[in-house]
Amino acid sequence: MRFEGTDSFVATEDLKVAVNAAVALERPLLIKGEPGTGKTVLAQEIAKALNRKLISWHVKSTTKAQQGLYEYDAVSRLRDSQLGDPRVHDIGNYIIRGKLWDAFEAETAPVLLIDEIDKADIEFPNDLLLELDRMEFFVYETRQTIKARQRPIIVITSNNEKELPDAFLRRCFFHYIKFPDRETMQRIVDVHYPGISHLLLHEALTSFFELRELPGLKKRPSTSEFLDWLKLLLAEDIGPELLRERNAARLIPPLHGALLKNEQDVHLFERIAFMARRG
């Protein structure tokens, strides 16, 4: 059972090696990379390719590690006790399972996605060390130990907002999704828009990579934005000739709103276009 990419996801060789190593050795896989390079999608695709269930845990700044294990809803128990509800005698009724618990108890080992782990408090990864290592945890309220039936495939994504602790990193495999080169990008487009005109794709790719190389750009457009842009070009039925017209007046590619999300970047382009017209 090896991960070889899917019909909707192009995996580069190095990514495949990293994923397969993480699956075989049952270690978490940490994925970093520019926004929009498919970090989150990867987990969905692994689940699809290996025919496993996907459990996603989206981390926010307020997320605590404990919430991934379980939560004890003491407030509703207090309320029930005041209302004389018989459920109150069993504390187990007030234990709410977290995503990790779900993943541990699943019939077949699922894919557990811990998305944007860097959003959480700096201690968050440390608090999960033992649980991810031994794949078990203890529920104090009910005095039971939850053990993983099979070790789930864990994919963790990070956007580098905080540094992750070394102890945590040592337990993971790491892969940095680099921005796809032209060849890979072509394969990605083929997967998403099969049958797109080669001429159009060629021109679009040229414009896109030129745009990315422009110095001083605040936010460089990503893969997902390129795909959106292509979709727009197709919807608007814009031909390759229009893209090729790279004279001064047409320096800004048509429908650039899909690629440039920053006012300053658009201004930058307009300035360059203006200078080109004058020169």
């Binding site: 190095d14 050795l25 580098n160 905080k162 040592r170 790491f174 940095y176 680099k178 001083g216 460089r220």
Partner: protein, 397 residues
């Protein structure tokens, strides 16, 4: 195995730990690298490198380390026929690379003699299969030979030449160069730099009421009030930023200014002031340096006390007079030398750092840069991720 490679990585500053090294061994034993150098490279990278800043270093070490092993040398391949490996040489090599446990393991495989014999047989076989004996023992862990087949001085691992050339490219491309910590700051890594500046300081023993905690523990307490306190979390960092403008470094200085301004929510206070080449008795509140915006340096020193941290950004390159003699300033007549003023400022702010956007290797060539670095007690850092990191660390402690 690959101990030497592991040690070379560590020597190069890639902080791979023993645990990660063992994971790599485990992966090799499971045959995850197959018999492909490229896969081995990917596997080693995923296992040993945990930060994209180190990817470039890893590529460099990998290329350097396996250079002899991987670059095909067509003429040499013919003459170094497999059976010509001197036995003593192999033994010596094993002696050098193997630990006691590993030697014991070899014994269990039938002793060194037997191992060498099989190894020689294997080499013979391979020679038979591949003309010229170019294909040698592989690197994967399932065979007992792969591990010992490796040697920094030049036993080849891997496949045919054409494959190497393609494989070598992957790490020789050094695609992760701009992610390395010592790369100059640009828009690409600006964001990362910003995150480096966001350092939290918890100060004082002050506590505040933890409302959620109180409700929770009161509920647990069957409705009897149980107060919970948490330490107050606030950012106490006060930063005084002195920026040198009106020179060739303006672009970098502005980059730096934007950087700190963008991070200003992380500071309790952030104050910008400007100077030209060297701070003297006056500073400016505005980058345009109009007379109306002048503030006296003495006032500044009195307004912002020693709890403020000082960051000076400038290339520290000027004519020696501007730093050393009274009246040396180019914009106005200064009673006291720039050096005196700089010392005075540094005395006022024990926590200080100088960020120099000029390339670090050039600092040495400018007399005033050397002098100022000395005045700063070497607290001068480059405008790179690593430089910022060091500067911030220095300011915090």
């Amino acid at each position: 195995m690959f101990l030497a490679f592991f040690l070379a990585l560590r020597a190069a500053g890639v902080k791979a730990s023993l645990r990660e090294f063992l994971t790599l061994q485990e992966a090799m034993v499971q045959g995850l690298a197959g018999f492909d150098v490229e896969h081995f490279y990917y596997l080693a990278r995923a296992t040993l490198v945990k930060d994209e800043r180190f990817l470039d270093k890893f590529d460099a070490v990998f290329a350097e380390h396996f250079k002899g092993a991987l670059s095909p040398q067509p003429e040499a391949a013919g003459e170094v026929a497999p059976q010509e490996i001197p036995r003593e040489w192999l033994e010596k090599l094993a002696e050098k690379l193997l630990t006691e446990e590993e030697k014991a393991q070899i014994q269990s495989l039938g002793g060194f003699e037997a191992l060498m014999e099989t190894l020689r047989q294997r080499l013979e076989e391979q020679k038979g299969r591949h003309q010229g004996g170019n294909k040698w023992i592989g690197t994967a862990g399932t065979s007992p030979f792969g591990a010992y087949g490796y040697n920094p001085e030049g036993v080849r691992i891997g496949q045919e030449g054409s494959r190497h050339r393609r494989a070598v490219k992957v790490w020789d491309k050094r695609e992760f160069r701009n992610l390395a910590g010592d790369a100059e700051l640009g828009t690409r890594n600006m964001k990362i730099a910003l995150r480096r500046l966001r350092r939290f300081a918890r100060e004082g023993a002050a506590e505040e009421l933890d409302l959620t905690g109180t409700i929770r523990s009161t509920a647990r307490n069957a409705g009897y009030l149980d107060l919970q306190m948490v330490p107050e979390r606030h950012n106490a960092v006060k930063l005084l930023l002195l920026l040198d403008i009106g020179g060739s470094m303006d672009e970098h200085i502005h980059l730096c200014e934007q950087l700190f301004t963008a991070a200003s929510s992380e500071f309790k206070h952030l104050k910008h002031l400007y100077f030209h080449n060297c701070p003297y008795e006056t500073l400016w509140r505005d980058a345009r340096m109009r007379a109306a915006d002048v503030v006296s340096t003495t006032d500044v020193l009195h307004t912002y006390d020693h709890t403020w941290k000082l960051v000076i950004v400038g290339d520290a390159a000027m004519s020696p007079y501007e730093l050393l003699s009274p009246g040396g300033a180019i914009s106005s007549w200064n009673q006291e030398s720039g050096q005196t003023w700089l010392k005075r400022i540094l005395d006022a702010y024990p926590k200080a750092a100088w960020i120099n956007p000029a390339q670090e290797r050039l600092w040495h060539y400018t007399q005033t840069t050397r002098l100022i670095a000395e005045l700063m007690e070497q607290r001068m850092y480059g405008l790179t991720l690593e430089g910022l990191d060091q500067a911030m660390r220095r300011l915090m402690h």
